[in-house]
Amino acid sequence: MMSQLLLFFILVPAIGLLVSLLPGKTSEKKLYFASLGTLWVYFAGLIFTTVYFFSTGRQSLYTEILTYYEKGHSHLSFDLYFDWLTMVYGWVSVILSLLVVRFSRYYLHRDKGYKRFFNNILFFFLGLNFVIFAGNFETLIIGWEVLGISSFFLIGYYRLRYLPVKNAIKVVSLYRLSDITLLLAIWLCHLAFDRNINFVELANTDGWAEQMAHNPAYFFLIPFFFLVVAAIKSAQLPFSSWLPRAMEGPTTSTAIFYGALSVHIGIFLLLRVEPLWEDKIIFRVFLGLLGLTTSLVATSIASVQSSVKIQIGYSSIAQIGIMFIEVALGLHVLAVLHFTGNAFLRAYQLLVSPSVLNYLIHEQYFHFEAPSDRSWFKKDHRLRSSIFILSVKEFHLDKLHYSVLWMPFKVLGYQLRFLSSKTGYIITGLFILSAIGLIFTSLGHVNHKIDLIFSGLFGIYSFLLVLQSFTERQSVFRAWMYLVLAQFFIVFAAAYNGSIDFNESLLYLSGVILAGGVGHYCLHKLNVEEPIHDLAGHYGHIYEHPKLGMGFLFAGLAIAGFPISPTFVGLDIVYSNMHKGEFFLPIIIAFTLIFIEISAIRLYSRVYLGPHVKLYHPVAFRSS
């Protein structure tokens, strides 16, 4: 009974978000009180639930709110869960959010994005609650994606400057990688345990390791995938360099998200899935070593930073590294204590970071002593010089992401440019024809060899299409069309593989078609007024066309299967119906999904964000 009420913690932020969309852009008071009210109501609920939790002997609460798909072993539902971990994260989140919302009331006064800011705070808060109250992986991943997108908004908050937009894409690309890795981890769990598991089972049943042990692939891959997901969100090696780049929004949002909440969510995930890895010594050692290495590297990067905020960012990463060690050692209480303390400390330090100038200058005025660099750099300390340079260069981490994660796909995309030629169109046409033809001839014939081959081919083709979109430099319309087509091919592939039936395909594609249409309209309408010659730079058209921009953004999110579109459910279905032993298709689709979102966001930023191309009003320099 009580557990049903957990829905409160999703509904309150959701309603708060909706309410906060109503007031006008300059109705600061209403926007503020909508946010504050939401948080207070939530807070009251949390106090009540906490009391209940303790009074029932810390019995965790679990409820299944809604089952939206059920077929064979697949059971997709929206579940909520409350245990000590949820409680701690809930408390820290709501207290910090309250402080920051209060702080932002006047801090953001008269900012053009006042409304956007508070909407985003609530959107983020909603996503966070999906994560911490999630009762199963399907629910958790909704929150995970919301966190990613709201981060995109908050980092690219100053959307008419180049660097915030560039960095927002950088960060969201990694976040996307984390989302999809999570999706794959969930899929592996589904394969390993033959059903969709929820967290109450996970926490209260033993022997997960034995269940996985029959297949060494699962045994290692599942924890490893979860670790990757956690490491990305918590900016551990080798992903650390996104965090300083996320510090582009107003100081308050930087403080709460990248100093405090968002960045600690990896710890949450590790603790949540602990039963899946707790028995594996090797994994624990690896986890601890990763934390230790990160901590050492981040500390030395922090030590050479001349920017206050970035220094705080790396210090925070270093502490999270230590928390990874604590988690690996099973010191839960310490890890959680450490998390809360670090969250408050870094949020505070970021908020007061502008004061550092005065404080340190004043201190120097009275206590300055020119450092004798002899102490640190004695005659020939090659190692120290090397570490110094490495730290200034952030251990090449930023470059590493680009050259390892994205560059190969760019190169591949360029190699395959011929697909954007006439030949390419013919191939695409043939593929579509064969897909449609095959639907009529062999619908329902599952596991036919030929079906599987086609399924694989369609999967590959969808990936190639999306790479074309990702590397398109000329036509925005073509790039957009590729995204739509790529989704179609995913459905074709899934249909041949038997992971999705006709009605489900329709459900899936309804989202794609609608999004495709809306996106095309928003581009076309803009193109009539402001021709988009190529995609080489940014146009910043949101300055003059905010509505079209918003329309295109929604279309882009929908086409990427964000949980505002039926496509999201479609994807869940596809993944929970994948056959055992089938590895190729799920992975290729995962890659496609990563790039669909990145490409959609890239298109949105190129066309609508960045410094406005029309210089009749103040436009920021590219270097700012």
Binding site: Y106, T251, S306, N358
Partner: protein, 847 residues
């Protein structure tokens, strides 16, 4: 004159770059200056349009904004007609007016800068900015860092490139990713020209290329150039030159191209594509759109100037009564923020007299605080003092704040701090939100000098020198300064028993730009020491004796007291009260109360612009709220600094007493009657264009283009190396003023009004070229008020001509409280809304 000769001279180009780059010093000392100082030798409009064409700046409001201002009445029709008829002749008014109001123009600007450098992207598909900027900024910022990093940059005694070379030499890791650039650095055999030969390969292009390159990040380049020129502007000295900085950037360019295009396989740019040099600085042809902008801007300015002149005329016709017996005299800074305080003091105590002069009170010196390790200059930036004032005991212990300590960033320190003190941070934040109060972490203008400390004002022995400066002033030097200042402001007789010298400073929390809010005449620092020093001099018996010999009599009963007004918190304090005689002590008690009531009103007046304060609340409550605001971490606008400044009045107080000028006037006291030939006038006027004009133009430019001239919004600022702010961690330094400071400002040029005969004023301003330049080129407007006829003479085209006011209606204020409470806060900070927050000139009708 620019680069017409073929070939390339490094020296010339470096010189030109230094000239055009921003000249903002590290942010701890924020000195206002004309942002386009490099163009000051040509006329204002010509200069701004030229700068705009070269660098892409927005230099006026947008066309639609001017039209909007006309629609909402901020540009008056009558004035617009007059402006058009002056520029284009009476008959053309209808045609031009139509153009101004309705014609569609192509107002898209295509700047000249960046042309050659962008070829790397279009020809070689290498985005050099993206590749180089983050690392370049990181290196230079780490090198110049004043104390944020825990590990200091090594080998700094070797200079910028020297330290990099030493570091590279002893490292397994390189800043570069390929060999060639590293090798060049290590060999030490490089020149700008040599590197450009590798990169560009056509000498005619080098000058332009370097401009493209350096103006791709004018913030850092400007900072490097300033540190090179004034190394003592950094507390932790670093040797660096613009040349070295450019060389590093060129090396990084070679490195990037090597790594993108294959090592040493690419050809110089000019060998890959045919490209001709252009003259960046060629004249910009006059366009009709420019003329339209000029007329709009003139009309915008004159609509306000006309209001001012109408107000002045009104006073001239109905002169107010001057008090006979003065209860006290208060000399405040010319700063326009003191304009309201003076008005309130005069209202509360009609028998007082207030005066204005630049807030360093004519005493120029370096200052060394007790326990301090650095000298601070306390006088206008262009002045180089040869005196030193030292503070001796008592030593004030300065508090510490654990969350700023470096240990929080170390491995174990971070652990201890987050586990043990993390919650305390949360509680501190909560406390500041609920009840903001002073803490060691927050700037406090009053903490710059101890309240009861002793200053070495008097030089006892000529051998008392330090750092090449004389410690203290001799008696004669003191007498000269006292006489100079008092005569300059016209205080030569009718001394009250107490004369206050009220300096000012600003205590603002969480504000890296706090230096911009302090006293501009004290090089962006609080002026309390200057007030104390001057008071000491003027009270000195021997100084008075010398003055008496010169025929300048200060009654023995008159005592001078130094004080300071905190313009953010509206607190005030006085120094050295122990010297007061018993009588004056009692008087002071009474006066203190008047000051306090004046500050209440001042707080109330300021509160009308603050969303967080209800102006109609109880006045003591408003005052407390203002105080809390100045120490609130979450308040990006503790005050608005010099926002709204628009005029500078040089004359007797009677010229403006009784007018509500809405804190928009710098006011320098000056009495023409004791200086009929204008001998003192030069000394009075001289610093004003630099100080007030500099402030005004900095606000002007930061307002019209807050992105390129200004620092953008404060909200995302990172503090870099304690020397500047950036808007993005990988971004360029942002000189100029932040959005939150300029949003109340109407971008109009300063109107200087001088009360003296036009021929005297003309002679004075023409006596010095650099002074004259300000007026001749119309960077500052000048009006002379003829003291005998009361006519206004406007300075245009190198001569004064009579100017008539249009209309003669001036609204009145009966009750200042109601008036302030009725004023509305702006709807948004768009100029059309923001400008309405600035109230018109009013006549104060109170008794």
């Amino acid at each position: 004159m620019h680069n017409h000769h073929a070939g390339f001279s490094e020296e010339h180009t470096l010189h030109e770059l230094r000239h055009y780059l921003p000249t903002q010093t590290p942010i701890k000392d924020f000195i206002h200056h004309n942002t386009l100082h490099a163009f000051q030798h040509i006329r204002f409009y010509e200069a701004i349009f030229k700068a705009s064409k070269i660098f892409g700046y927005q230099v006026t409001l947008e066309l639609s904004d001017y039209r909007g201002l006309y629609q909402n009445g901020r540009i008056s029709e009558a004035i617009l007609n007059r402006v058009i008829s002056i520029e284009k002749g009476e008959v053309s008014v209808p045609t031009w007016k139509k153009k101004l109001l309705h014609e569609e123009y192509n107002d898209l600007n295509e700047p000249r800068i960046g042309r050659i450098r962008s070829l790397w992207k279009s020809v070689c598909t290498v985005n050099l900015d993206d590749r180089i900027h983050p690392l370049l900024f990181r290196i230079v910022s780490s090198y110049l860092d004043q104390g944020i990093a825990l590990w200091h940059f090594p080998h700094i005694e070797l200079g910028f490139l020297g330290s990099l070379r030493e570091l590279e030499k002893h490292s397994h890791i390189s800043f570069f990713s390929t060999h060639r650039a590293r090798k060049i650095l290590l060999d030490g055999n490089y020149t700008i020209t040599g590197l450009l030969d590798i990169l560009i390969g056509k000498r005619e292009l080098y000058h332009e290329y370097l401009f493209d390159q350096q103006f791709g990040h004018h913030g850092w380049s400007g900072m490097v150039a300033m540190v090179e020129e004034q190394p003592d502007t950094l507390l932790y000295r670093k040797k660096i030159t613009l040349e070295e900085f450019i060389i590093l950037e060129l090396l990084l360019e070679i490195d990037s191209l090597d790594s993108e295009l294959g090592s040493e396989t690419w050809k110089p740019l000019a060998h890959q594509i045919s490209v001709e040099p252009t003259d960046l600085f060629a004249d910009v042809p006059v366009s009709e759109l420019q003329e339209v902008f000029i007329m709009w801007q003139n009309a915008f300015e004159w609509t306000y100037y006309n209001e001012v002149l109408t107000g002045l005329k009104h006073l001239r016709d109905k002169p107010s009564n001057q008090p006979q017996e003065k209860s006290f005299q208060a000399i405040l800074c010319i700063d326009e923020r003191e304009c309201s305080l003076r008005r309130h003091l005069e209202m509360i105590e009609p028998n007082c007299e207030t005066m204005g002069c630049p807030g360093f009170f004519g005493v120029e010196f370096h200052f060394l605080a007790e326990g301090g390790k650095f000298y601070e200059k306390l006088c206008p930036a262009p002045v180089t003092p040869s005196y030193l004032i030292k503070e001796t005991d008592p030593y004030v212990q300065h508090g510490k704040e654990i969350f700023y300590q470096k240990q929080t960033h170390s491995f174990f320190g971070g652990f201890v701090h987050s586990v043990v003190f993390g919650y305390w941070a949360g509680i501190k934040l909560l406390l500041n939100l609920i009840r903001p109060k002073k803490s060691p972490a927050l700037p406090n203008a009053f903490s710059r000098v101890g309240k009861d400390s002793v200053l070495t004002v008097e030089n006892k022995h000529p051998e008392d020198r330090e750092n090449g400066w004389q410690i203290g002033f001799t008696l004669i030097e003191m007498a000269d300064r006292v006489e100079g200042l008092l005569k300059g402001i016209g205080l030569v007789k009718a001394f009250a028993p107490l004369v206050y010298l009220i300096s000012h400073g600003s205590s603002t929390a969480n504000n890296p730009h706090h230096g911009a809010y302090d006293c501009g005449a004290c090089s962006g620092r609080p002026g309390a020491v200057n007030a104390r020093v001057f008071a000491f001099m003027a009270n000195h018996v021997k100084v008075r004796a010398i003055l008496a010999e010169r025929g300048f009599l200060i009654p023995p009963g008159t005592q001078f007291i130094g004080g300071m007004h905190d313009t953010a918190s509206d607190l005030m304090d006085f120094y050295d009260l122990n010297i007061l005689t018993a009588e004056n002590h009692n008087r002071h008690q009474v006066n203190w109360d008047q000051f306090d009531r004046g500050l209440d009103l001042n707080a109330k007046e300021r509160s009308r612009r603050f969303a967080s304060i209800k102006t109609d609340a109880d006045i003591r409550k408003v005052r407390r709220a203002i105080q809390a605001r100045s120490v609130s971490l979450f308040e990006p606008r503790p005050e608005f600094g010099h926002g709204t400044n628009a005029m500078c009045i040089v004359g007797r107080r009677s010229l403006t007493k009784g007018l509500f000028l809405d804190r928009r006037a710098f006011m320098n006291s000056y009495d023409y009657s004791i200086d009929p030939e204008g001998k003192l006038l030069l000394g009075v006027i001289r610093p004003l264009p630099v100080v007030c004009g500099g402030i005004n133009l900095e606000y002007y430019f930061s307002r019209v283009d807050n992105q390129k001239f200004g620092a953008g919004t404060k909200l995302p600022h990172h503090v870099m190396g304690l020397i500047g702010v950036v808007n993005s961690g990988d971004g360029d330094l942002r000189p100029g003023l932040p959005l939150q400071t300029i949003e109340v400002h109407d971008p109009i040029r300063l109107l200087m009004v001088v009360e003296h005969k036009p021929e005297v004023v003309l002679k004075v301003i023409q006596s010095q070229d650099d002074l004259y330049e300000w007026f001749r080129n119309e960077w500052v407007h000048l009006i002379s008020v003829h003291p005998e006829t009361g006519e206004f003479y406007f300075f245009r085209n190198e001569s004064f001509e009579v100017v008539e006011t249009l209309g003669d209606k001036v609204p009145g204020v009966d009750d200042i409280h109601e008036f302030l409470e009725a004023a509305k806060e702006m709807e948004t900070n768009h100029i059309l809304h923001a400008t309405k927050e600035n109230l018109p000139i009013h006549i104060l009708n109170h008794k």
